[in-house]
């Protein structure tokens, strides 16, 4: 009997603490400063660890390279130079060298494949999963690492799981309750409160520290919010600072339950899988939503898939054909504290969440950019590229013209035709072809 009493006592103190220190302040949007203290201690520890590693690392174990420097010495000269081309020169047997070299370079390293695996860290952040080349340095470092493992798995993980559980249940409960009310301004106010509180709780569940910049450009009602996509957590990060209408497919399981509950309280745009294929239907529904100026701004991720937060890939033009004002948002995670990238081919949702909850923290910056609209004479693709550049520049990400769905599908032939066109111009172009050499 004493055992169970003890357990119940521990549990109830635990819950009261959680309630008092975390839940209530979240409801009022107030912060008690505990996470700031945690972050400060964390930063100091990681700095100390980095110094130890640098002191201990032998000079020639230099397999580190930052994500932006390639591993091949590239000759980026255009096709003309690479083929020792003067315009209108004739075909030579050696032309095949240029293409084979470019092809082999792509096999050794290409811009796209590396974007679908987590960014390599420059210095270890005491998580086993990021330990690629870091060898045993000193007993003190190992002890700190062991301590870290204990803290993360035995203290932080249960806390975070509890919070996440509470957050999600509150969300489902709250939105269902609010959904019972008739449509009125009270309903909108209440659904906002419910959304914001639950999102704040969930963000604490990840030990998230988010800095919002340029809040004056926060997306307004009737607009479309566009952001780069790294993980499902992006949604959480953005909704903590304002309410959005989400767009997406209806999922099964837990996600489906959450989606159905949310749509009761405020109008999100969820599509069945079959409807997603019908582009016109999708565009029509989105247009209707945007036209109603009282509805919340739509949140869209035009890349269509998760990228590893070092680059921005092609924005699909569909979102930019709807019209209305686009509010771009750049999200950049700090990989030192935890990797937020969801590699959907490697991890399913549950193991991904577990990994996130056993990281140190999720630290990110969110920049709101000034609104943009499509200009005269600009088509959707050009507009999409313009927005993409703005986001890439603000977030410090590389810009890539490739389609993110490359990780699943083959690339279009139009790109190959361009190369073929360039090459043909060289060997035939000026009409400098000697037809009488027979």
């Amino acid at each position: 009997m004493e055992g169970t009493e003890l357990v119940t006592k521990v549990l109830s103190t635990w819950l009261t603490l959680v309630l008092g220190l975390i839940l209530l302040p979240s409801a009022f949007g107030v912060s008690l400063g505990i996470s700031e203290v945690y972050m400060k201690i964390l930063v100091k520890t990681l700095e100390w660890a980095t110094l130890r590693i640098e002191k201990g690392a032998p000079k020639e174990s230099v397999l580190k390279s930052s994500a932006s420097v390639g591993i091949i010495q590239r000759d980026e000269s255009p096709m003309e130079k690479g083929l020792s081309g003067l315009r209108g020169r004739d075909f030579e047997l050696s032309d095949v060298f240029y293409f084979s070299k470019k092809g082999l370079e792509a096999i050794v390293e290409d811009e796209v494949t590396q974007r679908f695996s987590s960014e390599e860290l420059v210095s270890w952040n005491l998580l086993t999963r990021t330990n690629i080349n870091f060898h045993y340095i000193s007993p003190r470092l190992t002890m700190v690492w062991v301590l870290g493992v204990l803290i993360r798995y035995c203290v932080l993980l249960p806390l975070r799981v509890t919070l996440a559980f509470i957050g999600i249940s509150l969300l489902v409960l709250g939105t269902t309750l609010v959904g019972q009310l008739p449509d009125s301004s009270l309903k909108t106010r209440l659904s906002e409160v419910v959304h914001l509180t639950c999102c704040r709780i969930c963000v604490r569940a990840l030990s998230g520290t988010i800095h919002y910049h340029n809040k004056q450009y926060r997306p307004q009602k009737g607009g479309i919010c566009v952001a780069n996509h790294t993980s499902p957590i992006d949604v959480l990060i953005l909704t903590t600072d304002g309410c959005y209408a989400m767009v997406g497919q209806v999922h099964g399981g837990l996600m489906g339950v959450i989606q159905r509950a949310m749509v009761k309280a405020c109008p999100h745009v969820w599509f069945e899988r079959s409807e997603m294929k019908d582009r016109h239907l999708v565009t029509k529904r989105l247009k209707e939503h945007v036209a109603d100026k009282k509805k919340l701004p739509i949140l869209i991720f035009p890349e269509g898939t998760c990228i590893n937060n070092t680059s921005v890939m092609m924005f699909k033009k569909g979102s930019f054909e709807i019209g209305g004002t686009i509010h771009p948002v750049a999200i950049k995670y700090n990989p030192q504290f935890g990797d937020a990238f969801w590699n959907s081919s490697k991890y399913n949702m549950v193991s991904y969440l577990l990994r996130v909850m056993t990281s140190w923290a999720i630290v990110c910056d969110v920049w709101y950019l000034p609104p943009m609209t499509r200009e005269e004479g600009e088509d959707a693709v050009q507009f999409a590229n313009r927005v993409k550049s703005a986001i890439a520049v603000q977030g410090g990400l590389t810009e890539l013209p490739w389609d993110g769905s490359l990780k699943r599908a083959k690339v279009k032939d139009t790109f190959k035709e361009e190369q073929q066109k360039n090459y043909s111009k060289m060997i035939v172009g000026n009409g400098a072809l000697n037809l009488d050499s027979d």
Binding site: K102, I132, S424, I427, N434
Partner: protein, 196 residues
């Protein structure tokens, strides 16, 4: 790349591959990472599809031919030693005095001859040791797509075969191939330097 720890010991047969290809330990490790990153389903080997999904390779006009050179003799699986063996052809030539090389050792994979052999087999589809006019036409067609007419392409192919063909058999043998390229700086054009 990836969150797996990968040390030199984890590369299977590292010593043998190093001797065969001449890659340094660090380069080998880099290439092993790359091999694992390309191997999407962790099969332990690469298939044609894995290579075809590299965007920059798929838009290369000679992309399919290059992929074929990784799968000789009708193989469908590419293991790591095979992967590195092909890439070794593009290793920059070592700067040491070639006269020091032991003549009994097989020629290094990145020698001028072997680089030329690699380029030759991009042309020579049926592996008969000669580039026929037809094979020349096929490669040309790959490189220009639909941009050039059949007649123009045929005259280019004819001219090229004639220029290189010395014994008049209407095809370019490997020796004739090397002769026509003897002034070309192969070492520089067919080398990829892997930074550490």
């Amino acid at each position: 790349m990836g969150a797996r720890a990968s040390h030199a010991a984890a590369v299977p047969g590292a010593e043998r591959i190093r001797r065969e290809t001449g890659f340094s330990q660090a380069c080998l490790l880099r290439l092993h990472h790359r091999f694992q990153a390309l191997d999407r389903n962790n099969k332990g080997y690469l298939s044609r599809v894995d290579l075809q999904q590299i965007g920059a390779l798929a838009v290369n006009p000679l992309g399919d031919r290059i992929i074929d050179s990784f799968f000789p003799d009708g193989n469908h699986q590419l293991d790591f030693p095979g992967f590195v063996r092909v890439l070794a052809h593009f290793r920059p030539v070592d700067e040491e005095d070639p006269g020091v090389r032991d003549p009994k050792q097989p020629e290094p994979l990145n020698s001028r001859m072997n680089k030329l052999r690699f380029a030759f087999q991009l042309y020579d589809l049926d592996r008969d040791g000669k580039i026929s006019r037809n094979e020349m036409l096929q490669v040309l067609r790959l490189m220009v797509g639909v941009q050039v007419t059949e007649e123009q392409l045929e005259s280019i192919a004819d001219r090229t075969v004639q220029e290189a063909d010395e014994d008049g058999d209407g095809a370019v043998s490997f020796l004739e191939f090397t002769k026509s390229l003897e002034k070309m700086n192969i070492e520089q054009k067919m080398s990829i330097r892997i930074l550490k």
